[in-house]
Every structure is written in C-alpha cells, then in structure tokens.
C-alpha cells in the first residue's frame, strides 16, 4: 500500500470535526515521529499558527519528536506497576528504546506495557505476554449490579449479543414512547451522579444542556481515565461498548445533540478498535447516523484518541484538546453545559455514567435507586489494586462498607501482611489508614470526613511498603501532569516532590512541616483546577497518618546531605 501523502491525510481529516488529534496521530504513525514538515503541513492545512501547534505537541506525552519514537515500547511506571517490577522491566527494555509512561490503567494486571498498539503484561524478569483484559471478578455477595449486570456475557461487544439481553431497547423505547423531557426526568429521578470524579447530578446536567440556547449541541464521553489506579472505564469499553454508545444516544435524544465524541486515552488501543467496530455496527443498525431509528434526527459519534495527558480528563482541558487548542483547563463559569465544544452547549459525561444511563432508562429510576443501600441510590464501580488478594473492578452498591469490599470481596491483604493504607479517588484523595477504613462508600459520608470517592480508584498498600516512597511516587505523577497554567500547582507540585524525595527543603522537622503544609494549604485553596487542589492531599495525609515515617525521612535526608557535603 502506498504511503499516504500529506495532502491525502489533510483531505481525509480536514472536513471532520475535531481534526487535530487524528491528524497528529496519522502523521506520527506514518513518519515514526512528529516531524517539522508534518507540523508545517498541518499548520497550513488547519490554519493554526505554527508556534501554537508546536507548543501543543510538546504538551502531549506520547507524541515523539525524534525519529522512531512513535514505535517505542512504553512501560507503565505507575505506583501499582512499580510494586510489580515496572522499574526493573523498564531498565531491561531501555536498550530497545522503551520509555516510561504514567499509570496507564492496567493496575488489575500489572505491569502494563504498550508496544505499538499491542497491550502486553510484563514482569520484572523481562517477560512480556499478550493476554485478554480481565473481566470484573464475579461479585461474591449477591449484590445486584447495574453497569456490570451483563458484562460477563461472551461476545457482549457484538451488537447482536448486546441486543439479545435487551440492548438498545432503552433507546428504541425512548424514541418511540418518551419525550426528551421524560428521559431527563428518569435520569434525574434515579439519583445518578457523575462517575468521573466530580459527582454532578446527571439529570440536571442533561436538563441544562437541553434548555441552553445554541446549536449544534454535543455529547462528549470522557474516556480519558487518567486517574492512577482507575481502570473501570476501560473494562466497560472493552466488554460492553454498546452500553456506552446507547448511553450517548440517549443523552443526545434527551438534549437534542447531533454529534458526539468519545475522548479516549491514548493508552487504550484495544478499546479504540472495539469502540470503532461497535460504532460501525450501531450505524449499520440505525442507532446512529443521519436519522436515528428513522426519527429524522441526526447523531454521529467520533472517537478521538488522546495523546497522553492526565489533565485532558478535566473537562475544560478535554474540550480544548478536542478543539486543537493548548490543553489548559478553562475558567469556570461558564460551564460546558452552556459553552462547551466550540462554545456550544455540551454534555461531558464519564463512560460509567453513560453506561449506567442506558441501564436506567431500560429498567427505570426506581430500579436504579433500589440498587443502593438505604437511601443511597445506585452503584459505583471501584477499581481495586495493589496489595490485595483479588484486585479488579467491583460494582458496589452505594453505602457499602469499605472493609467488606477489601476483606470479603477482594480477599484482604496478602498472607502474613496487613493493610497499611489505601488511597481514595485514585491518587486524588490522599491516603487513608486504620480506623478510617471503617467508612461506607457514598459521597455524603465520605465528604463529611473530607474524603471523596472520585472516579473510584482504591490502591492498597500493605505494611511492607515505605509510605514516603509511595507518596513521592504519587507526587512525581502530579509534577509530570501539572499543566502549568496556574502558579500554585505548577511550582507547588515540584516543591512537594523535592521534599518527599529528600532532595531539597529544610533539614529540621519543624520548618520542613511548615513548608509542606503551607504549600499544601495554598494549593488546596487556590489552584485553578482539581489537579492542583487534590495533589497536596497526598502530603497532607502522609504527614497526618505517618508522622514517624516523615520524621525519619527528614532526618535521613539531612544525614545524607551532610555526608554529601563532607
């Protein structure tokens, strides 16, 4: 096959919405890296200033700027993969040009490695194996599930199998029997809140978009899943992609949106293929396209692959990234519901939220409500990883005790070990220890303790782990991912990381704590987005729950510096 010319690539994408990312990927793959000539061609083709384009390309982790970089293997060096030998594996693979990548959402089966578009599982010994993504472990209680209720069915990603278990009935019923307002009312009454981290009431979000002036409206499925320790959206897309598409189509029907994007993190190449197949099947079957189910209303879904940037999960940055701008978060208000993609009303919803919405419209608001414990509505998927017997994705009823999840469902700590700490909200909720683990998983009870469930990632560290090291690895992640828009986070993450590494900072405990606390307090209060407000929870909880380890760390750093000076 002849290699595509610049002109062909530009022609292919220029008339599509959100063309920059796919164009960059196309040139990246064709040339093995992003060449200067490619950027000049794209700059001319899209009428984007070259300096802006260059700056934006440097923002993304996976866009290589030296020959051959595009094909290099990538080894996840996220916290959980590190516990499983990622650093050793990376060292072995460096000779062949392998590079590190931050947590890539494979914590249930570490070490996560990408070679081209192949997803592999590696070990410290250097072995690499191709094996299918893990399905959620069977739910050991008899608690009812929503999003996972059919996910273990064989070939669920195929449209006929999906339809066999009632798939797309929600959409058909809605289009036939319900007004858009009624769909919104069902979602609102179900009590479904966003599952991407911020927990905004989904029915209200859809209503705001339905009522906002401005066309065309857009549904964005946030599949960036960048939070370390979160891999739930991946399993939903890998095994139940039509649920996501149906959820998006319902959101489109409810709000009057005519176009949809799935913004998929770079590190999920399998999901990319699966989603594209599923979208083609759904178009073929009339669930998407120029006239959805013969209604005359249009709804198309485009998959856009990210290029490696945690901040692109933040909705404003995501929208900027789609639009081909520098992916800084946007100032809010205005929110995406009134000014989203191309400044038009936009729903941004997480994968899990949209998949749940399809089930809710099918089974009713009361059904969803009843899945939760007591007055808590519905379920939440928790991605559990680290030092635990059975890591994986668990769909728990809201209001569920954390201890039961850890000990009964997931088998507790490894033999002869005890759980030392767990994280909340991936890395964005800091560490939790001891009696604080006696909580139930639902936002009200968590928020009352200054905690939050976020996207539902929980990493477990047993008593063999050095918590300073864990906290440092976490802060390294935030340093690497801070976008650089705002001062407190840009400098604060760096200074906290240096102190946790023992590379800089006061040598006496008092002033050390003062600095760490002052930085943390300031970041939490005045950072421009959720990354900067969350990052210091790591240092804050470390200092609070592990005072002896902190004291030892400060003393050791001082002694090491003293030795160095001598």
């Amino acid at each position: 096959m002849a290699v595509a010319t610049d002109r062909e690539l530009l022609e292919r994408w220029r008339s599509e919405p959100a063309p920059l990312l796919p164009l960059l990927h196309a040139f990246h793959e064709r040339d093995g890296f992003v060449t200067e000539d490619a950027l000049r061609a794209i700059s001319r083709g899209l009428r984007t200033p070259l300096a802006d384009l260059f700056g934006t390309v440097t923002f993304y982790h996976h866009l290589a700027r030296e020959p051959g970089g595009a094909g290099a293997a990538r080894v996840c060096t996220g916290l959980i993969c590190r516990l499983n030998g990622a650093v050793e594996l990376l060292e072995r693979m460096r000779a062949e040009g392998a590079k590190a990548m931050p947590c890539s959402g494979g914590c249930d089966d570490p070490v996560h490695v990408l070679v081209g578009d192949d997803v592999l599982v590696g070990t410290a010994a250097g072995t690499l194996e191709r094996r299918p993504a893990l399905l959620p472990p069977l739910n050991p209680g008899d608690s009812r599930e929503c999003v996972f209720s059919h996910i273990r069915t064989d070939d669920r990603a195929r449209i006929d199998v999906y339809e066999d278990t009632g798939g797309y009935e929600a959409l058909k019923n809605a289009v036939r029997d319900l007004t858009p307002q009624q769909v919104i009312e069902i979602i609102a009454a179900s009590g479904l809140n966003g599952r991407g981290g911020a927990g905004f009431h989904t029915g209200t979000k859809w209503k705001l978009v339905a009522e906002a002036p401005g066309e065309p409206k857009t549904i964005v499925c946030n599949a960036d899943e960048g939070e370390p320790g979160c891999f739930k959206d991946r399993v939903v897309m890998d095994y139940d992609p039509h649920a996501v598409i149906e959820g998006m189509a319902l959101a489109a029907y409810a709000t009057g949106a005519t176009r949809g994007f799935i913004y998929l993190r770079y590190e999920y190449p399998r999901a990319l293929v699966i989603l594209e197949n599923a979208i083609a099947e759904a178009r073929q079957a009339g669930y998407l396209g120029e006239s959805v189910l013969g209604t005359g209303s249009r709804f198309e879904i485009y998959v856009r692959r990210g290029a490696g940037a945690y901040i692109c999960g933040e909705e404003g940055a995501l929208l900027n990234s789609l639009e081909g701008r520098h992916p800084f978060p946007r100032n809010r208000p205005p929110f995406p519901v009134t000014r989203g993609y191309e400044n038009k009303p936009t729903v941004v919803n997480n994968v899990e939220t949209l998949a749940a919405a399809a089930h809710i419209v099918r089974n009713g608001a009361d059904w969803y409500q009843s899945l939760g414990i007591g007055h808590h509505a519905g379920t939440k998927i928790v991605s559990l990883s680290g030092d635990i017997q059975r890591p994986g994705n668990y769909e728990v009823p809201l209001g569920f005790p954390l201890r039961t999840l850890l000990d009964d469902w997931a088998g507790g700590a490894r033999p002869r070990r005890a759980i030392q700490a767990v994280t909340m909200a991936g890395l964005s909720g800091g560490f939790l220890v001891g009696s604080h683990l006696d909580i139930t998983l639902d936002e009200p009870s968590l928020r009352s303790r200054g905690l939050f469930l976020g996207a539902g990632g929980i990493m477990v560290f047993d008593d063999s782990r050095d918590m300073i090291e864990m906290a440092h690895a976490a802060m390294e992640f935030f340093v690497a991912e801070s976008c650089g828009k705002c001062f407190p986070c840009r400098i604060g993450t760096q200074r906290l990381e240096e102190r946790l590494a023992g590379r800089a900072g006061p040598s006496d405990l008092g002033p050390w704590l003062d600095e760490v606390n002052d930085i943390g307090r300031t970041m939490k209060a005045i950072s421009a987005c959720g990354l900067g407000t969350a990052a210091p929870l790591i240092s804050e909880s470390l200092v609070k729950y592990f005072p002896e380890q902190v004291e030892r760390h400060v003393r050791r750093s001082r002694d090491e510096t003293a030795t160095l000076k001598r």
Binding site: D52, G55, C489, T493, A525, I526, T533
Partner: protein, 363 residues
C-alpha cells in the same frame, strides 16, 4: 409592555463591606480595581482576556467554599466579596515565596520594560524574599538569541504567559507559545528557534507586558550604566499616520528608550518595531550636525545655514519658474519631529501652491 433589559441595569454587590454598583458583565477584579482596591495580580493585563493563572487575585465569596479568581469571575447580584482577609494575604505571600524560589535573583532595572517592576514590587509588598521553598529553578534563558531588540532572559520568567497572549491577542502574530507542561513549561517559538526566524515582528509588546523583566528591551538596558534618573516625556510616534502615543525615556539629554502609552487612544500600549526600537538615529554619530552643500567637485561640503538655504531656495524657484508649481514635491521624514512635518506641508502648500507633499512612512 416595554421591559427594561435586565442586562443593562446597574446591579449591586458588596466588596469588603461596602455596597457597590456594577454593570452586568464586569468581573470582580474590574469592580474592585475601580473602587481603589489593590488586589495583587501577575497574569493580568487589562487589555488581554482574563487568564486566571497566577491566582494572586483570589478573593473570598460568600457561599463559595474556596476562594475564586477575581479576574475571571463575573459579579452577580448581591454577591458578597472580601479581598484582603488574613487568610488570603497568607496564600498570596506563600505564592510569592514560591515564585521567588523558582528564579535567579537580580535587581530588575526599570529599563527592562514598562511592567518589569510588577513582580519585584509585589515581592516587596508581601515581604516574600524569605528564602523558603528552595529547589531547582525553572527558567532557561535563551542566551543564544542574539537579536538586537529582545533579551530573552527566561531565568526570570514566572510563566504568566502575558507575552504569549499579547502576541496573539493584540499583535496577532502568534510568534511565541508555551511548550512542555508544569514546572518544565517554557516560552518558545516554533521548534525552539530564534525570534528572528519566527513570525515575530519585533513589535516589543511582549517586553512591555512582561511583569518580571524576563523579556527586556536590549537597546534600553544598554543604557543601564548611564548616570541619572529616567524621565518620561509623552509624545506621539512620528513614524506613521496611526499616531501611537509613546513615552520617550531619557537620562539627562540622552534618549534611552521608548514605552508605549498604555492609555494611548490609538494604540493602547501597542507599537511596531519602528516606534518601539528605532529611536537611536536622534543621537547617532552619523547624523548631520551642520548644513552641507554639493560643490563643483561633486562632493558635499560643510557650510553655514544662509548659504545652504539660499542654495535650496534658488533650486526650488528655478524648477517652479521653468516647469510650474506642480513640478516640486516634498517627502517629510518619519524621523523628523511632527512640528517639522507640519511646517514642510505648509511650505509646499502655502509656499509653492502644490499638494505634492507626503511622508515617508504611510502605514
């Protein structure tokens, strides 16, 4: 029934306990600023879109759990805002200490640029040179960029992106942008090249909005060692018909630089490369200081004014007498004072009766 447009009606809000009227659409910062509050800012340039990056401008708003950036937040009816509580002042001080820690410390000469003292003044106001938060520095000065106009001393840069935004929003050149992310952020041209190889027109606006002196006027700072205080004289740039207001900077009798007038009605702080940098002809050693006339030998010879003027008058009269009044033509120099340009057109129109008069720089 005629409804009044609610968007146009003045609304009320409270800042630091005082009720204030505002026009819907105004930001908290704008309202506070015109009420005489000195909310600190570093990423703010009133001519640019609010950016919300420095977070110094945060204020407390009733009903909001965290402080909000006043520069990006629009006032709403009945909003209650506090601009200078102890808590806010503490955040601001910590932020400034953090900023001090990321940069090389120098005394920033005022000749570096119009806004070059903003950062230093805030650091002094908050007494933020505490030496805390030591760690690696972030800047990377481009000592290799030897263009004659702009010193790119990014060791002092605090990543406020005012330069990038002024270049895009005011100059429309998009010559510079932000590369990398987080603490590794740098200001760059395409492919990290030199300004001369980029889309830069050397308008100098990035220099003049830079709050740290990281971008500096190379020509002006070459006069840093010159004795004397810097004085400013407001005038209008003579180079073209736009009429940009400028402040000429002098030390004693020497012109050392030009600042665009931020309140200049035609330019609001903008200039082009000529208005900004092309001032040194005034004191240039090649400049004529005595009249010259061409002799029989074809060479120019120094002479006195009377001789020179007689020669010129004879020349003009000769041509007009032989070929009519429209046979003479004058081009005023953009480097001559405005008064001279005026006199020259008077000379042509009233003196010779022709409209054949132009100026060398018609932008």
């Amino acid at each position: 029934m005629i409804m009044s447009n609610p968007d146009r009606k003045l609304q009320k809000m409270v800042i630091d306990g005082v009720e204030i009227d505002y026009t819907p659409g105004e930001t908290i910062y704008q309202i506070a600023d015109r009420s005489g509050k000195h909310i600190p800012t570093l990423c703010n340039d009133p001519r640019l879109e609010p950016f919300g990056g420095c977070r110094l401008c945060v204020v407390e708003v009733d009903g909001s759990s965290n402080p909000v950036a006043s520069c990006t937040t629009k006032a709403t009816p009945g909003m209650v805002v506090r601009t200078n509580t102890d808590c806010l002042e503490e955040y601001r001080r910590v932020l400034l200490e953090l900023l001090v820690s990321e940069n090389r410390e120098i005394d920033v000469d005022t000749l570096r640029g119009y806004a070059s003292q903003e950062f230093a003044e805030l650091v002094d106001r908050y007494d933020a040179r505490s030496g805390r938060f030591v760690g690696v520095r972030s800047g990377r000065s481009r000592t290799d960029d030897d263009n004659p106009f702009i010193l790119r001393d990014y060791d002092l840069c605090i990543s406020c992106y005012r330069c990038v935004r002024v270049c895009a929003e005011r100059e429309g050149d998009y010559a510079i942008s932000v590369m990398n992310r987080g603490f590794r952020t740098q200001i760059t041209t395409e492919f990290e090249g030199l300004l001369a190889d980029s889309a830069c027109t050397f308008c100098g606006q990035c220099i003049q909005t830079c709050p740290t002196g990281a971008l500096a006027d190379r020509k002006a700072i070459s006069a840093a060692e010159l004795q004397g205080a810097v004085e400013k004289t407001r005038t209008v740039c003579p180079y073209c018909g736009v009429g940009c207001s400028v402040d000429i900077l002098t030390k004693g009798d020497t012109i050392v630089g030009v600042h665009p007038a931020m309140d200049g009605p035609a330019n609001l702080g903008a200039l082009c490369v000529k208005g900004q940098f092309a001032f040194d002809f005034v004191q240039h050693q090649d400049r004529l200081s005595a009249p010259l006339v061409r002799g029989e030998d074809g060479e120019l010879h120094e002479t006195d004014w009377d001789t020179a003027l007689d020669r010129a008058a004879a020349g003009f009269s000769d041509v007009v007498a032989n070929h009519g009044r429209h046979s003479v033509y004058a081009v005023a120099s953009g480097r001559a004072p405005n008064e001279a340009a005026y006199i020259l057109q008077k000379f042509m129109r009233a003196g010779w009766g022709t409209n054949h008069i132009d100026n060398c720089s018609r932008a």
